[in-house]
């Protein structure tokens, strides 16, 4: 598969403080990559560098064959961006906003606006002024504006900020429906991120602390056994437990085998919980380590 984004040794210093330190990773065509990290970790800085809002001090970024620094216009013309709150002209209607965005790119068909509006489901409100829009509608219009140039790559920095659960679901549903677009997204909605991303990049203190490939882990489950004899069970599952609890991270076959083993050793298994918040756990592990340090 072709690499859509190549990030190589990117560093950024602001006011003598190193915000990003030697960030490198690749994103393959069609992948959805989540950037996860606590506030101040450097996610937004990286995204602002990737969209041209911040200058690149050190390192290189490529969008396909285009170097962001050297071929800025070509590189950024295949990128759609939504950085935090969307930049919309409040006194113009949604349609006129999209027309204005369209005018910034060459060779965009007028029908493209209709297609995009269908994707973000804003048909009914397009004639109304943006100042009358709810936050969710503004975010959807922001995504529409990011899609106007048929981007091969979409960069979204916290696109669900301030949205209610329905608004969050709508945004993630839109992203899920975009099969051919390479997406890089940062969000604090860890469950949703886990649901749509192929890869998660954990950033903390300006450095990548882990890259997790969701596809490789998809067959494994994080489960917690509830039993009557904890110490005996703990001894039995000691090679599998991932923490002090009877929590294991294994495939269905292994979990079933462990369950049988517990029963054969006269341990009553009351319940097996599936913990769907792997990402949340890893996130808190990173933050916890940071706070201890």
């Amino acid at each position: 598969m072709q690499k859509a984004i190549k990030i190589r040794n990117v560093s950024k210093t602001i006011n003598a403080k190193k915000i990003l330190n030697n960030i490198s990773f690749d994103v393959y065509e069609g992948e959805i990559v989540g950037l996860i990290g606590p506030n101040g970790a450097g996610k937004s800085t990286l995204m602002k560098i990737m969209t041209g809002l911040y200058t690149l001090d050190e390192g290189e970024i490529y969008y396909y064959e285009y170097n962001l620094k050297k071929d800025f216009e070509k590189a950024i013309s295949i990128v759609g961006t939504l950085i935090e709150t969307p930049d919309l002209y409040k006194t113009l209607s949604g349609k006129n906003n999209l027309k204005l965005f369209k005018s910034m790119f060459k060779g965009i068909d007028e029908n493209k606006i209709k297609d995009i509006v269908n994707i973000v489901e804003l048909e009914k409100y397009l004639g109304k002024k943006v100042k009358t829009y709810s936050l969710g509608m503004k975010e959807r219009l922001g995504i529409a504006s990011a899609l106007i140039n048929k981007p091969k790559i979409l960069i979204l920095d916290e696109p669900t900020n301030g949205l209610d659960p329905i608004g969050i679901k709508n945004i993630f549903d839109i992203l899920k429906s975009m099969k051919d677009t390479t997406i890089i997204i940062s969000s604090h909605m860890l469950n949703e991120i886990q649901g749509i991303c192929n890869k998660i990049v954990f950033i903390n203190n300006g450095e990548i602390v882990n890259i997790k490939h969701i596809e490789n882990d998809i067959k494994k489950k994080d489960v917690l056994f509830e039993v009557d004899d904890f110490s005996k069970a703990k001894l039995l599952l000691k090679d599998y437990c991932i923490n002090e609890e009877l929590e294991v991270y294994e495939t269905d076959d292994v979990i079933s085998k462990l369950n049988k083993e517990l029963i054969l050793n006269n341990i009553n298994v009351y319940r097996i919980f599936e913990n769907k918040n792997n990402l949340e756990r890893e996130f808190f592990d990173i933050v916890k380590d940071d706070k201890i340090n």
């Binding site: 961006t81 950085i83 930049d87």
Partner: protein
């Protein structure tokens, strides 16, 4: 590039100040026509007014857009930063030219004076306004505070001559190579006075020198402003 310049004009057109300024110029002309008919003199007196309008209208052209977040719109689109900066510079200069043209047309029509020499002299005397345009753009790319930018640029425009005379008095003759003595070309009207001042202070102020120095500083400030803008991080 044309799209960027067009966008700049869309933003300016929204400003009520533009219409107020045009109406102000027309009213001033009508009043002057009724009272003394000395419209040529009025047109020269309006040059500093155009300079002040440039300071007020364009003082926030970069800093203001960074503050209200609209810059994110341009800088994440396929336009190189130097083009965005150049479009703003061109827009300021087009504004200056159009305003000066309104004044020249009003003067010519109302005074029935269609003198070519007047036209050339008026354009030459307006050169400091073009310099101020570049200076304001430079300040706007370097400082965040709009009031500070407008205040500094109007102060420089209004008091540069007094300031340079004070500095000449203190024998800081290098000031003749700065832009300070050349922001008001009316000093070149009284040639005897200029000659005396040159002899007295051991300097050589002339209109040719003024034109060259204003253009050199216009280019310097354009270059410095553009360089700063190209490296600026847009935080909002």
């Amino acid at each position: 590039m044309i799209k960027l310049i067009n966008n700049e004009f869309i933003k300016i057109k929204r400003s009520k100040l533009i219409f107020t300024q045009i109406i102000f110029i027309i009213i001033i002309y009508i009043m002057k026509k009724v009272s003394s008919n000395d419209l040529l003199n009025l047109s020269y007196n309006l040059i500093p007014f155009v300079g002040i309008m440039v300071c007020i209208l364009f003082g926030n052209t970069i800093s203001g857009e960074i503050e209200n977040g609209t810059f994110r719109f341009y800088l994440t689109k396929p336009f190189k930063r130097w083009k965005v900066y150049l479009s703003k510079f061109i827009c300021i200069n087009i504004y200056i030219i159009l305003t000066l043209l309104i004044i020249i047309i009003c003067t010519s029509i109302l005074s029935k004076n269609y003198n070519y020499d007047y036209f050339i002299k008026y354009i030459i005397y307006s050169i400091p306004v073009f310099f101020i345009g570049s200076f304001v753009l430079y300040l706007s790319s370097n400082f965040k505070n709009n009031s500070f930018i407008v205040g500094v640029s109007i102060f420089i425009l209004s008091f540069s001559l007094i300031l340079s005379q004070v500095l000449f008095g203190l024998e800081f003759n290098f000031v003749e190579y700065t832009f300070l003595p050349y922001l008001d070309f009316s000093i070149f009207n009284d040639k005897t006075n200029l000659l005396n001042m040159n002899q007295e202070l051991g300097i050589n102020l002339s209109i040719n020198k003024a034109i060259i120095i204003d253009f050199i500083y216009l280019i310097i400030f354009y270059y410095l402003g553009c360089k700063k803008f190209m490296k600026k991080d847009i935080k909002n």
